[in-house]
Symmetry: C2
Subunit: 80 residues, 2 copies
């Protein structure tokens, strides 16, 4: 079973990496860039086929290791 996890900074948390990308894009001549936010994207292949169990496990993985829930949100998508 394949899971896709998006980890993004919460609204209001400064994103210096996103700001750096926005600056670099403007230096390269790309206009009209209003905001850039950078997050993480993680793909996990899990053994087993119980999606309820997988979702609970992925939730625990995010809370314990993958995301810093003080400043980050995470979203888990499961593929069949």
């Amino acid at each position: 079973m394949k899971a896709r996890i998006h980890i993004t900074l919460k609204k209001g948390v400064l994103d210096p990496q996103g700001k750096a990308i926005a600056n670099a894009l403007s230096h390269l001549g790309f206009d009209g860039v209003e905001e850039v936010r950078q997050g993480k994207y993680i793909e996990i292949d899990l053994a087993g086929s119980d999606s309820t169990q997988a979702r609970a496990k992925l939730d625990a993985m995010c809370a314990q290791l993958l995301a810093n829930t003080v400043i980050e949100n995470y979203a888990v998508e499961l593929e069949a």
Copy 2:
């Protein structure tokens, strides 16, 4: 106009960051993790409403700055 960009390592390219996550998960007691790949996720707010133009611009941004197309793939999704 909001764009979501996923940047992932091409198949066959080693992903030490993904391997480190897989090891850490196994040390934390999560079993059944077969593979982990880490990529980047970037959200860009663009001025204007011409989606064809926006897509061309985002493509150029990825090729010139955001992705290393030798080892990475990118995918652009546009939101209305």
